[in-house]
Amino acid sequence: MIMLPEIIVIVTALTVLVLDLFVKDINKVQIALAGLLSALVSIIVLPIGGELLGGQFILSPTAFWFKIIFLLSALITISISYDSLMVKTSKIFLQSSSEFLVIMLLIICGMMYLVSSTSLISLYVSLELATIPLFALAAWHKKESKSAEAALKYLFSGALASSLLLLAFSFLYGTTGTMNLSEMAVAMTFSPLQIWAFILITMGVGFKMTMVPFHFWAADVYEGAPTALASFLSVASKAAGVAVLVIFYFHVFPDLVKSLNGFLAIIATMTMTLGNLVALTQKNIKRFMAFSSISQAGYILMGFMGVESMGLVSVLFYLIVYIFSNLVIFGVIMAVSSSTGKEEISDYKGLSISNPMLAFAMMLALFSLSGIPPLSGFLGKFFLFSVAAKQGFHWLVVVAALNSTVSLYYYLGIIKEMYINKADLSESILVSAPVKWTLSLCTVVVVALGVLPQVYDLILEGF
């Protein structure tokens, strides 16, 4: 029964919803985490390659790994935002947090359906399920007007992207005569309309994955929305965007993309460079993380060049590494803002004195994001760069490597605040237990992934 994980997630969502109505402040985070964990376990048990509903629902290797990515990111996001969901005294506490949790679980379920769907319609609908509720989550901070404004911008960009996507799907449907993705790939004929559909899809998916020309919403939404959602966006929704891109680039337009290496290289360079350059100037930590995640999208794009299975494996590996590093940073951001309520980078002064463990975890994650060896970020980037190098784009490798040096500059900026600058008032930052556990676990994984080859080989076996 390969739809088991989805069902488990839906059941958990519903139980949280129902229980919240009847029982006074139940520990909903624990239920959610239990549900997600059992979904994760169930997925690992499932045989890859099965199909259901006569082919409407399949579990291909990509789908398998993307589901693991989605469940992992949900699991970690929810556990690091324990403060804003459960701790009433924390400065970033969210009203009606159980509904927040339910919607998040449903979104995860939408993403899982997204990767397993074979027809255009189910793909479109699950994509919408994975996007539209996010607009609602963005507006959760009722007290500040920033949150509503962020939601508005996110809604409009999302609506535009989805209508463009819809138009593209109609053209695909029309020219290939079928709704089924695999049949569509066979009927591809490089006609102008199909190229136009390809571009429209790139725009639609580019929105979700924050590729450069379509990234404008990211900064405002990350800053305005509650941090829990910002971390979720930077990780899960970006992974969903990558998933859709993988579906289209690897399964629907493979030979078109094979000839478009130059095109991809340009977009990747733009995304990386703009993301890094603007991140240099950022003061607010969440806005800073927005641009850092935009630049990460640039590196991921490099994996798509040449449409090889090695490229896909490195993209998947990099996503996993990116999840752990990014969520450690967001965990620290949430821990700091939950006790101090401040989000400026300069507020991290002297963190290494007030809370050495937090600072050390943050430092490791930042180094991993900027691609410094023994840590996993370097390994992920190295495999992505090797894909680009294999296609002969050495200039792109140099640009990417220089970009990661620029990124090192602003990551070191934060480390400088934490380690070198003296803190004027170092009130101690208390971190609640689950957050502490998740952070230390993730930091260990960030370091371990850099050294142990097992995970990469595991992914490789699938392809």
């Binding site: 479109y124 009722k142 508005l152 109609s170 449907y173």
Partner: protein, 108 residues
């Protein structure tokens, strides 16, 4: 070119839906009222629906996927409008206006 207009076939309908789509786009970029922008989105979705149905009618007559897709489009459009309206109401309760151009508190 004239033949397209003479007996309106698939291309005619597609051109029609693209025209409607572009008008929707124009509305999307110029309306200052949030609801106005949402209306233009509805317009665009409707244009897409037309292209789906016309493809179904002219090119892919074997099955009815196009029409089923249109039904789903309508459902999704509904969802979008619901969320949009909820957000607009929240904005309105705070700022008493829905003028999109005045909302750039996040522009630092």
């Amino acid at each position: 070119m004239l033949s397209i207009i003479q007996e309106p076939g698939l291309t005619y309908w597609l051109l029609l839906s693209t025209v409607l789509f572009s008008i929707g786009l124009y509305g999307f970029f110029t309306r200052t009222n949030a609801i106005g922008i949402l209306i233009s989105v509805e317009l665009m979705l409707n244009a897409a629906a037309i292209s789906f149905v016309s493809f179904n009618n002219f090119a892919v007559t074997g099955d009815l996927d196009g029409q089923i897709m249109t039904m789903f489009i309508i459902a999704v459009a509904a969802a979008e409008v619901v969320i949009g309206m909820a957000i607009f109401i929240q904005i309105f309760s705070k700022q008493r206006h829905l003028n999109v151009t005045k909302m750039n508190e996040l522009s630092r």
